[in-house]
């Protein structure tokens, strides 16, 4: 493998890693509040299409400021993903629907909404050709001139701002969960809602907030993929969904620790793309090699379940509804 190839591989790994990381950090927040949200892929879809819709109409209306387009799409992405989270939260918390089924439904729904608009935006807008938002995308893909500083510079600096935002979010999430009053309360809700309730913590409020903000964070993963990785276009090829499921898997891989999710996500990204650079893979064996990230996650899943360390276990009430008057 040449140095050039290695660089490309590392940068692809960081790009996909960023998508997965954002999804995983959002899901960690949600799972720490005791909800297993299998709707993460759907939420990421919603985040991606939300940003796309805003940017598309902005540029269709003649908007030409990359920064404005970026801000609009960023905001819209968050709103879309948060709304997806709100549906899930309302059903699972207020109406106590089963979390797994609701999450899967959200994934179907989010994928439907995103791919529908992704394929029909141009038709709906009156038949304008391609769906592409080059102006907005350029703001997401702008990076510092440091990016041209040789090999190290290209590994460390040649990324759009969201790649750094993801790391910042992961670190902030760790601080929030472990060092703040609200983080403590949130973890209590996920571990033992009855106890949290008795301590005067509003379980409902914390769960709602965690799910909505966690979904917004995960949605940013879809936004990054749409705006940065595929340069402001839309691809209906299921990649976002695939990365979304990897994000769910990464939460376990990282044993619910946001900072572990950082290196874990890059590892996932690396394994995802490594097949391109393994010599001697035929088209058939290449498909087998692409199994690797899933096989690795499986192995980690098994190892975590074999080693029963108290600190590595999922939040104790993960997946259960809470209802105070239950008796």
């Amino acid at each position: 493998m040449t140095q050039e190839q290695l660089l490309t591989l590392i940068n692809s790994a960081i790009a996909f890693g960023t998508v997965i990381m954002l999804g995983a950090v959002g899901e960690i927040l949600i799972e720490k509040a005791g909800n297993l949200n299998l709707g993460i892929p759907g939420v990421m879809y919603l985040g991606g299409i939300g940003g796309m819709i805003a940017a598309f109409y902005y540029e269709l209306g003649g908007g030409s400021s990359p920064v404005t387009g970026m801000l609009l799409s960023f905001l819209c992405s968050i709103v879309f993903a948060a709304l997806g989270g709100l549906i899930y939260a309302f059903l699972t918390i207020t109406l106590r629907a089963n979390q797994n089924v609701t999450g899967l439904t959200l994934t179907i729904f989010g994928g439907g909404v995103a791919n529908f608009f992704g394929a029909s935006l141009n038709t709906l807008a009156g038949g304008v050709g391609q769906i592409s938002v080059p102006v907005t995308s350029s703001a997401y893909r702008a990076y510092t001139s440091l990016g041209y500083l040789g090999t190290i510079g290209r590994v460390l600096f040649a990324h759009g701002f969201m790649a750094y935002l993801a790391i910042v979010l992961a670190v902030v999430m760790r601080y929030f969960l472990n060092r703040t009053r609200a983080g403590l309360n949130l973890r209590a809700v996920g571990e033992n809602p009855g106890t949290a309730d008795a301590a005067g913590i509003s379980v409902t409020k914390y769960k709602y907030l965690a799910i909505i903000s966690g979904s917004a964070i995960a949605g940013l993963g879809g936004l990054f993929y749409t705006m940065d990785y595929i340069k402001g276009t839309w691809a209906n090829d299921g990649t976002i969904e695939g990365l979304g499921w990897l994000a769910v898997a990464l939460v376990i891989f990282a044993t619910w620790k946001p900072v572990s999710a950082i290196w874990g996500s890059y590892l996932f990204g690396f394994v995802y793309w490594a097949y391109l650079y393994i010599p001697g893979l035929s088209r058939r064996t290449l498909e087998l090699f692409k199994m690797l990230p899933y096989v690795i996650t499986l192995i980690v899943l098994i190892i975590v379940s074999l080693r029963k360390k108290r600190e590595n276990q999922p939040p104790a009430s993960l997946g259960l509804s809470y209802f105070r008057e239950e008796r």
């Binding site: 797994n100 439904t105 179907i108 087998l288 008057e325």
Partner: protein
């Protein structure tokens, strides 16, 4: 859950669990109401997107599902495939094993079926059919065996395990598609045995529609019926019900929980594998990564909504397939994306999930006395 207003002496709105179960009729009434509400909302969404007349929309939907004998058959065929998966999932879910790996189990079942069609086409037709059925079930069962074993032995999270198994199955399918590619460079397998139709489910009726439809119904309805008996009247079915309620009780009653666990998941995977057979041999006659097409997930919802009663699943499978066909008809009639059907499915499921709450809980408003 009870704090909305603090100023008064009683919160404005409270919820509590129903003291008694609702009669079945009333419970279904609530569900049907939720379903109609969801239709209204989906209608509004479609109109908002497309500016169409709702009556025309629903008329188009009906045509899409039952417009001609041919489309009706396709609807029935697809409903049967979905039903088969849901029936397969039921025993696993009933014992609280979250098998979201039906997608993968269908695919490996489909791969096994296609492999038989390709390599064993010289066999006599009935024998080939039998071999295909067995192969698809073994493949699906194997895909269930691993997550089942790890769940039983080490309590490994089965939701994530089966999810990963889906992706492994997808890559495996891609591998075989590349292996069996026909014609070369098309990146698809094409219709297998186009000429002599070896390994195609034969025609049940003498004047059928290309032979695809009759046997699907027979096989799947038979499986449904057998599953109903298995779940409600067999010793295994009883074990499953006890384990699903409480594993401790099951151990107390002398049920070997781990063994029952693995056995049930293998059965569940095997029937999903059979669904792969039904999809390949009885419908598409080819294999691709979209052979499962998300139905492994949709079927979970079918099984859940039917409360794991395989006979009730017939209704929900039809319901979902008819909706999807209808939505696809709208999409093509009005030049919209096919994905509109997923949006509608999502909305309807949200409402049906929500309506379960009103079946199980009552709401008290301040000031109103609740008759008890």
């Amino acid at each position: 859950m009870s704090t909305v207003e603090r100023s008064g002496h009683e919160p404005f709105i409270r919820m509590s669990k129903r003291g008694e179960m609702l009669p079945a009729g009333k419970a279904w009434g609530i569900r049907v109401l939720g379903f109609f509400l969801s239709l209204v909302v989906s209608g509004v969404v479609i109109i908002a997107i497309s500016g169409l007349n709702p009556a025309a929309v629903f008329a188009t939907m009906a045509t899409g599902a039952f417009g001609s004998a041919k489309t009706s058959w396709v609807t029935i065929r697809d409903a049967m495939t979905l039903l088969c998966i849901a029936v397969g999932l039921a025993p696993a879910f009933k014992m609280r094993f979250w098998n979201i790996g039906a997608e993968g189990q269908i695919l490996v079942g489909g791969i096994a079926t296609a492999a038989c069609m390709i390599y064993l086409k010289a066999l006599p037709a009935p024998l080939l059919m039998l071999v295909m059925i067995l192969a698809s079930m073994i493949a699906g069962g194997l895909w269930g065996f691993f997550p089942g074993l790890f769940k039983a032995r080490w309590n490994t999270n089965e939701t994530l395990f089966t999810l990963m198994m889906n992706y492994i199955a997808i890559q495996l399918t891609s591998f075989f598609v590349a292996t069996w590619e026909n014609p070369y460079g098309s990146n698809s397998v094409g219709i297998i045995n186009m000429q002599k139709k070896q390994g195609w489910l034969p025609n049940l009726f003498s004047q059928g529609y290309n032979g695809d439809y009759g046997w699907n119904v027979v096989i799947v309805l038979l499986v449904t019926l057998v599953m109903y008996l298995y779940m409600n009247h067999s010793k295994h079915g009883y074990e499953i019900a006890v384990i699903g309620d409480s594993e401790n009780t099951a151990r107390y009653a002398g049920i070997r929980v781990n063994r029952a666990y693995v056995r049930t998941i293998v059965l569940s995977g095997a029937i999903c594998g059979l669904a792969g057979f039904v999809a390949v041999s009885g419908a598409s006659h080819t294999i691709s990564t979209s052979t499962a097409g998300g139905r492994g997930f949709t079927a979970i919802i079918v099984a859940w909504l039917a409360q794991f009663n395989s006979v009730v699943m017939i209704i929900f499978s039809f319901l979902l397939v008819v909706l999807q066909k209808g939505a696809q008809a709208i999409a093509s009639a009005y030049n919209l994306s096919q994905e509109v059907s997923q949006i509608m499915t999502g909305i309807i499921l949200f409402f049906l999930l929500g309506s379960e709450f009103f079946v199980n809980y009552t709401i008290h408003f301040r000031g109103k006395k609740v008759a008890s």
